[in-house]
């Protein structure tokens, strides 16, 4: 059985790419487009492009906030310091590990939750959706504290509830080691952001045409065959968009680490490193350089998703 999708609808020429024979109407449409998008573009430039440019500029200086008089231009030396420091590479590895683990688990769990929401009886569907969304509504710092208290050796209940699991006892110090700390951090992240991914996947599920499902049923396809050959291929765009958004989000992990370990036991993420240089050490130059590198990493992830996996962002919006 081959993959079943509906034939792509004919795409219209985007208004932003007029050819030589642009009509007056197309011109005025283009003008209207700029008028409508212009204010949003201006705001975006002001709140994102300007700070990014400022950070790039600051990263070229040796600049301590408490000593502005001795600010000096040092070129790319801040980047040299960072890239030759093992701490940077270790933080990058830790961040990559957290991203990979949380996004993979969230995708599977999120898909299951999306299926539950999609198939649930319409009478309980609103309640179910609200219930699934609650963790996402909780502030990250609050959720981090809740998970920390749960696993705390003195106040936590996990050690006494799960004392029967081999390796867990009254004296298990979850925040005393790298892997156990990372486990709790990942659990907290997964609990909190799975609803987000499941909501995006639910939107994707709703886009799978019912006619294809019925046709496959008539052909005698099993549930598993329909899932693999009909449902998944038809919601590829939604899955990719969900993955992209969550990967970008997960790569900037900060709150849970800040609350639970404070970066101890080699659990620092790249964002945490930027925080420590900029806010704690007040080394604006060095910290800006870390932020710029973090920004480049995020851009790299986004580009590789869009180019590598051919994610078409317009599809998730129901265009095209």
């Amino acid at each position: 059985m081959s993959t079943t999708t509906l034939p792509p609808t004919e795409k219209t020429q985007p208004v932003s790419a007029p050819d030589a024979t642009t009509s007056d109407r197309a011109k005025s449409e283009r003008k209207l487009g700029w008028l409508l998008a212009g204010p949003a573009l201006a705001v975006m430039l002001l709140v994102t492009a300007y700070p990014i440019a400022q950070a790039v500029y600051d990263s070229l200086f040796d600049f301590r906030l408490t000593d502005p008089d001795n600010r000096s231009f040092t070129g790319l030396s801040n980047y040299g310091v960072i890239l030759s420091d093992w701490l940077w590479w270790r933080s990058l590895l830790v961040t990559g590990f957290i991203t990979l683990v949380t996004v993979a688990v969230e995708l599977v769990l999120g898909f299951a939750l999306a299926m539950v929401m999609a198939k649930a009886l319409s009478t309980i569907r609103p309640v179910l959706r609200a219930a699934i969304l609650i963790p996402y509504a909780v502030i990250t710092v609050v959720s981090a504290f809740a998970w920390q208290f749960a696993f705390d050796i003195q106040t936590g209940f996990v050690n006494s509830w799960f004392g029967w699991v081999p390796g867990i006892g009254e004296d298990t110090d979850w925040f005393g080691g790298t892997w156990t700390s990372l486990l709790v951090i990942c659990l907290a992240e997964i609990w909190k952001t799975t609803p987000f991914i499941s909501l995006l996947l639910l939107a994707g599920l709703a886009q799978v045409p019912e006619v294809l499902q019925e046709a496959a049923k008539v052909d005698g396809a099993s549930w598993w065959q329909r899932m693999r050959k009909v449902t998944l291929p038809n919601m590829k765009a939604a899955i990719m968009v969900a993955l992209l958004f969550r990967t970008l989000d997960a790569f900037r992990v900060f709150d849970s680490i800040f609350i639970m370990t404070g970066g101890a036991n080699a659990t620092e993420s790249v964002s945490f490193l930027a925080y420590r240089q900029t806010i704690s050490r007040l080394e604006i130059g060095l910290g800006s350089a870390v932020s710029v590198l973090l920004f480049l990493a995020v851009v790299f992830i986004a580009m590789s998703f869009i180019k590598g996996f051919k994610v078409d962002l317009s599809q998730s919006r129901g265009e095209g």
Partner: protein, 452 residues
């Protein structure tokens, strides 16, 4: 081709017909909103009610004592000034971050600040503190313990007003010490208490968390061994000389390792802070705990509330901080809060007048009794009410006289951050390697050649 007429209503919110379709109405409304916002911002900036200047005092979180003192001093000022308090974050590091960012932007709303002494050199060096008038400096250092004056001094000049002074004591269970045959009326060493704890199967509470508390503990060890984290101080970060690899520095690392690997430091030493060690000390495993005096009122309150047996606080004993070597007096941790006046304050004279009121003997005694924060003014320790509430007050005073401050440098964050990174977890400390590694790291960080 998409239909132009549908673009607005289909794709965006901008063209949707709302209640304010008239452009004029919308413009008028947004103008009014902007004006309202502006006027409220302006009002917040200079709210000198009825001509009485308002001083803003940024306080660290406490049990309401500083707010009450602010109200009392406002009454005493007889219309000269009003003090309003604004509460800072709980962590000392976060308090510094907030204050420094605002001061770097020349914030004139910061009149008085409750400052952790470790950050005072940084504030002074950056010229964020208004100079203290000489007559005020003379009055606010009268009868004040030396460690608090030292903690308020930078470059041989008083730059902050000593307010309250904290120190750690060695808390012990009298029953445990008795069973172990320890004579607690004489100074004890770390070796002796660890041995006693091993024999009695109880814990020795120390703060091994990767936080400031670890530096507090380490500094007390190295100072007690006769050394210092910084041996040669300088305002040029590349000229600071560290004393971690000195004999005293290695001795401090040895003691830290000995305690961490003795099996008496509890199962969660690498995350143990002041609160968690106080909790462990309250439990049946509690034997010894180096901690601030707050643990005593905390235990009394728990006993009063019925969450703890009344016999537990009755079993609490206190002594001067343990010695590293039997023949050298201990150098206990020094902490507390001193008051700084913001360099950009519009009323520095009034602010200094207010600090004199805040740190008066009566107010320090009030603060000690109600909030449990020990005074820097030595005469407070003779107050009968203080002695009744805090029977260990004379020991606190003695400890304050012995106490050694943490390194005073404008680069304190780098120094403490480096120590926390290398000496954590305490069980991993190797006296032959750790001091060397920490020195290398901190020097590289100070030269801006490494991340922290």
């Amino acid at each position: 081709m998409p239909d132009v007429s549908k673009v607005g209503s289909d794709r965006g919110q901008t063209g949707r017909a709302g209640p304010f379709h008239s452009r004029r109405v919308r413009r008028a409304l947004s103008g009014a909103a902007a004006a309202g916002l502006l006027s409220s911002v302006l009002a917040a900036c200079g709210s000198d009610e009825g001509g009485v200047p308002t001083l803003t005092w940024y306080t660290n979180p406490d049990s309401g004592g500083q707010a009450e003192i602010a109200a009392r001093c406002t009454d005493d000022a007889g219309g000269q000034y009003r003090i309003e308090t604004a509460v800072l974050p709980r962590e000392a590091g976060a308090q510094r971050e907030q204050l420094i960012r605002r001061l770097a932007a020349n914030d004139s709303s910061i009149d008085i600040m409750s400052l952790d002494p470790i950050f005072i050199p940084e504030f002074a060096e950056a010229e964020f503190l208004a100079p203290i008038p000489e007559d005020v400096a003379g009055r606010v250092t009268e009868d004040v313990v030396d460690s608090a004056i030292e903690g308020s001094t930078w470059d041989d000049e008083l730059v902050a007003v000593p307010f309250w002074a904290n120190t750690q004591l060695l808390w012990y269970r009298e029953s445990v010490a008795e069973a172990a045959g320890l004579d607690m009326s004489e100074p004890v060493t770390w070796d002796e208490i660890v041995e006693a704890a091993q024999a009695q199967n109880v814990q020795v509470g120390v703060q091994g968390i990767r936080a400031e508390a670890l530096t507090v503990w380490f500094n007390a060890l190295i100072e007690s061994a006769g050394g210092s984290i910084i041996e040669e101080n300088s305002t040029d970060p590349s000229e600071i000389e560290l004393g971690l690899t000195s004999e005293a520095g290695i001795r401090a690392a040895e003691v830290m390792r000995m305690i961490a690997t003795s099996g008496t430091a509890g199962p969660a030493l690498s995350t143990a802070n002041e609160d968690s060690t106080a909790t462990a000390f309250e439990s049946p495993e509690g034997g010894f705990n180096v901690n601030y005096p707050f643990i005593y009122p905390r235990a009394l309150a728990a006993a009063e509330a019925g969450t703890m047996d009344a016999s537990v606080p009755e079993d609490y004993g206190w002594a001067i901080y343990p010695r590293v070597d039997a023949d050298t007096p201990a150098a206990p941790p020094y902490g507390g809060i001193n008051l700084g006046v913001g360099a950009f304050s519009e009323h520095p004279d009034l602010a200094y007048a207010a600090t004199e009121c805040i740190t008066s003997t009566e107010n320090q005694a009030y603060y000690f009794v109600t909030n449990g924060n020990p005074a820097s003014d030595t005469t407070v320790y003779e107050d009968p009410e203080v002695l009744e509430q805090f029977p260990m007050a004379p020991t606190i005073r003695e400890s304050l006289e012995l106490a050694a401050p943490r390194p005073q440098t404008p680069y304190y964050s780098e120094v403490t951050g480096g120590i926390q990174r290398v000496y954590h977890p305490p069980s991993s400390v190797e006296p032959s390697e750790t001091p060397e590694a920490a020195t290398e790291l901190i020097n590289a960080v100070l030269r801006k050649e490494q991340l922290l």
